[in-house]
């Protein structure tokens, strides 16, 4: 019942559950801007129906994002008080900016988007949709900037000693534009767009399969599928840039990601393990190796060796197996998404999608893949940074609150597991209701007095 271990578990669980929702909000936010824009441009009522349908789903994902997001910010203080004390001076202002510039914007104008249809002009409503989308994207910026500072800290100095030591900001821009912020923000936003796109694709494919609202579903599918494909390609480029950034600034993490235990001698490039099993005790990876390819990817030549874990003190190694497998799973998820999206786009272009139930099913089930990629990606980033919570500055073990007990955390974990399971059930139940109803005019969940005829 170690409070440190339990706090790690709790943070992992609450973050994983929370992270289902903001990417959906960000991706769907962009999608709403596109389809409501099409409505304003073409005047086609079909796009209006589509907008109202997806706006309701957006409202649901947003509400759950808020509910689970409060847990995240309070969790910094409750379980990680020493970490909060250490970093508050550095990126506390970034998080303050997130609240002031992002949360108010999206939460505020969402009211107009969901409830203001009959109260404001078409143009004002569209502006509100744009502002909600902008707010959602802003909220990604600041939290990724803060997390990136934890990975590649700059723009700070350390004051105090020992247990009283803390980081303080010396330059806001240097802190915000640390070496990994831009790469990681791009990677995260692209991932969010894919997440939203594949939800649209999945629901649209489902409607086409059930031969309901086919015309509207095809419009959604077109935008979602071609969008997903384009962004998946962009994501490949972003992945390359980001990974090379990790190689430069967090060599221990890169070594764990790729399972590189030994640094090869000068002039001998490092192999890439495409798939494998990590044997940390024997300090090797068993798997399918492609000679020289890792050096090629990182340094653009197959001769420069990649620093291995032998360059890192043993007690600063992250959990190599977890990091290696998460990383490879994330890439596998990307690969599968790409194949499914490409095949689906091909069928759509050839206008044969309606007669391809197997492809439609693949598109329906593809909704899970971005979440797999998001989860394993964050596992790679965060577990790969261990044992540090702020890379090379503060160990995770030193960041935990000193005044909490294992019993308290065991209690809160239980609470979260119970509440989040119920929440997820409610989310799926309501999402399914909305999907089954589809983008029609008569909203069956509209006013039906359930007490009619009763006391």
């Amino acid at each position: 019942m170690d409070p440190l271990f339990l706090s790690r578990v709790q943070f992992a669980l609450t973050s994983a559950f929370h992270y289902i929702y903001p990417p959906l909000s960000i991706g769907l936010g962009l999608f709403l801007v596109i389809i409501e824009g099409m409505y304003l441009k073409t005047g086609d009522e079909g796009y209006l129906k589509l907008t109202k349908f997806w706006a309701k789903i957006f409202g649901l994902t947003f509400a759950l994002g808020v509910a689970t997001g409060l847990v995240q910010v309070f969790g910094f203080g409750s379980n990680w008080a020493n970490y909060s004390r250490y970093v508050g001076d550095v990126f506390g202002s970034a998080l303050g900016a997130e609240g002031v510039f992002a949360f108010f914007l999206e939460a505020g104008f969402l009211g107009v988007v969901l409830f203001g249809w009959d109260r404001v002009s078409k143009e004002s409503h569209y502006l509100s949709t744009i502002l909600v989308c902008l707010g959602a994207h802003f909220s990604a910026i600041w939290i990724v900037v803060a997390n990136s500072w934890m990975q590649t800290p700059t723009g700070y100095k350390i004051i105090g000693e020992g247990a009283q030591a803390r980081a303080v900001v010396t330059n806001f821009l240097e802190m915000a534009l640390n070496p990994s912020s831009v790469d990681r923000l791009t990677h995260v936003i692209l991932g969010c767009w894919i997440t939203g796109a594949l939800l649209v694709v999945s629901v649209s494919a489902y409607h086409i399969l059930k031969k309901k609202h086919v015309d509207l579903a095809k419009r959604g599918l077109k935008i979602g599928l071609y969008g997903a494909l384009a962004v998946l390609v962009l994501q490949l480029y972003s992945a390359d840039v980001t990974a090379r950034g990790v190689a430069k600034h967090q060599p221990a993490k890169l070594a764990a990601m790729e399972g590189v235990f030994k640094t090869n001698p000068e002039g001998e490039g490092t192999a890439l393990t495409a798939i494998g099993y990590v044997d940390t005790k024997a300090e090797k990876v068993v798997g399918w190796k492609l000679p020289g390819l890792l050096s090629m990817l990182i340094y653009r030549n197959d001769k420069t060796p990649v620093p291995g874990l032998d360059q890192v003190p043993r007690d600063e190694w992250p959990n190599v197996q977890v990091v290696f497998q998460s990383y490879h799973l994330m890439i596998a998820a990307w690969g599968l998404m790409f194949v499914i999206a490409a095949v689906g786009a091909y069928k759509l272009k050839r206008k044969t999608i309606e007669k391809a139930p197997f492809v439609l099913w693949a598109l329906i089930l593809s909704v899970f893949l971005p979440h797999v990629a998001n989860f394993t990606g964050w596992m790679t980033a965060e577990v790969g940074r261990q044992p540090w919570v702020v890379y090379k500055l503060l160990k995770t073990a030193d960041g935990v609150s000193p005044n909490i007990t294992g019993g308290q955390v065991a209690g809160s974990i239980t609470m979260f597991v119970v509440i989040y399971t119920m929440l997820f059930a409610v989310f799926i139940f309501l999402l399914n209701n909305k999907i089954q109803l589809g983008p029609t005019d008569d909203d069956a969940s509209v006013y039906r007095d359930p007490y009619l005829g009763k006391k």
Binding site: L70, G77, G96, F101, V112, F115, V120, S401, L430, P450
Partner: protein
């Protein structure tokens, strides 16, 4: 000297955030507290939709309080949330259930579904209000902050008598505030019903507040030390009392907008009483005064405080500007449409 000015500025911003949270989410919570007194699906939907378009934005002020503490007084943020570990978890459960209940309550026609979520909405709102009150109560009572700047607290000590009193007073305050808000948003019989609730709500709150004041003066004289020293400050609770009376006055005259503003002003003076009583202490130590966390010994360094001030200076006017636009878009009586909750 410059550092102290900025420490006071950030403290003011935090207090302002607390004030905005109390007057805005205060009425959201108030509507929730009163929710089960509304009978029938239509009345309950009207209650939900009175806050529907604005409650989410209102709740953000709670995040702002946390953010200002995290950035401006990180020691206080860490100590508070970890020392209050179990209450924070209870508060989170309340916040989660409140958010979800509003969102899902009307999404299914089954009466059982709606009744259950009605109860969840009410209980969660009461829980949040009580927890907020109890936290403030604990800050008045003081906490066993040790020399490392941390405290641990048993749940029984958290819900001690004074803290419970403040919790119940908070519930009464929000119920009153919520009722006054609803008067602006409702009409016909429902509005008549609410008019009849406001007077007892004010009386209940005043009675509790009186007991609270006596208890505070008797058991926590530090809270009135500044007021006794500078007698000028007596005017603050007096003005607060006047504002409260004016709420009843305006309701009787059917000037509900003014009643609501008076209620906000009353809350402003209540916050002011708390600030006057505690400044500059943020978390008072019951072990030794030198362990207390104050705005002068627990802040970030000046550069961060300057950044925060800049962010607030740009952000807060923006938020108030477009917040006003959003409230004006939804002014007037609640009308149930196909988009409503």
């Amino acid at each position: 000297m410059e550092l102290q000015i900025f420490q006071i500025i950030i403290y003011t911003i935090a207090c302002a955030a607390l004030f905005f949270y109390l007057i805005l989410d205060g009425f959201d919570l108030g509507v929730g507290i009163l929710h089960l007194f509304a009978k029938g699906d239509k009345e309950r939907r009207i209650f939900l939709n009175a806050i529907g378009p604005v409650w989410d934005g209102n709740e953000v002020w709670l995040v702002i309080i946390g953010g200002v503490l995290f950035a401006g007084f990180p020691d206080v943020f860490g100590t508070l949330f970890s020392g209050f570990y179990t209450p924070v978890m209870i508060l989170l459960a309340g916040l989660i259930f409140r958010a979800v209940s509003i969102e899902v309550r009307s999404k299914h026609p089954s009466p059982k579904w709606r009744s259950i979520w009605d109860i969840v909405f009410a209980v969660a709102s009461i829980l949040i209000a009580a927890a907020v009150g109890a936290v403030l109560g604990n800050l008045v009572v003081g906490l066993p902050v040790n020399e490392d700047g941390h405290f641990t607290l048993s749940i029984f000590r958290f819900f001690g008598p004074y803290q419970l009193l403040l919790g119940v007073t908070a519930v009464a305050l929000f119920a009153m505030h919520g009722a006054v808000y609803l008067l602006m948003k409702t009409e016909d019989e429902l509005q008549e019903k609410l008019k009849n609730w406001v007077k007892p709500a004010i009386i209940a709150f005043l009675a509790l507040y009186l007991v609270l004041t006596v208890a505070t003066i008797a058991f926590f004289p530090e809270m009135v030390a500044t007021m006794n020293k500078y007698k000028f400050f007596y005017i603050v609770p007096v003005l607060g009392f006047v504002a409260l009376l004016n709420v009843a006055n305006m309701v009787a005259k059917e000037r509900f907008g003014r009643a609501f503003i008076s209620s906000c002003i009353a809350i402003l003076f209540l916050v002011a009483v708390y600030v006057i009583g505690t400044f500059p202490v943020l978390i008072r130590s019951t072990i030794s005064p030198e362990y207390s966390l104050t705005i002068f010994n627990s802040s970030s360094q000046i550069l961060t405080l300057k950044y925060l001030t800049l962010i607030a200076a740009i952000g807060v006017p923006l938020v108030i500007a477009y917040g006003t636009y959003i409230y004006r878009t939804f002014r007037g009586k609640v009308v149930l449409t196909e988009h409503s909750y």
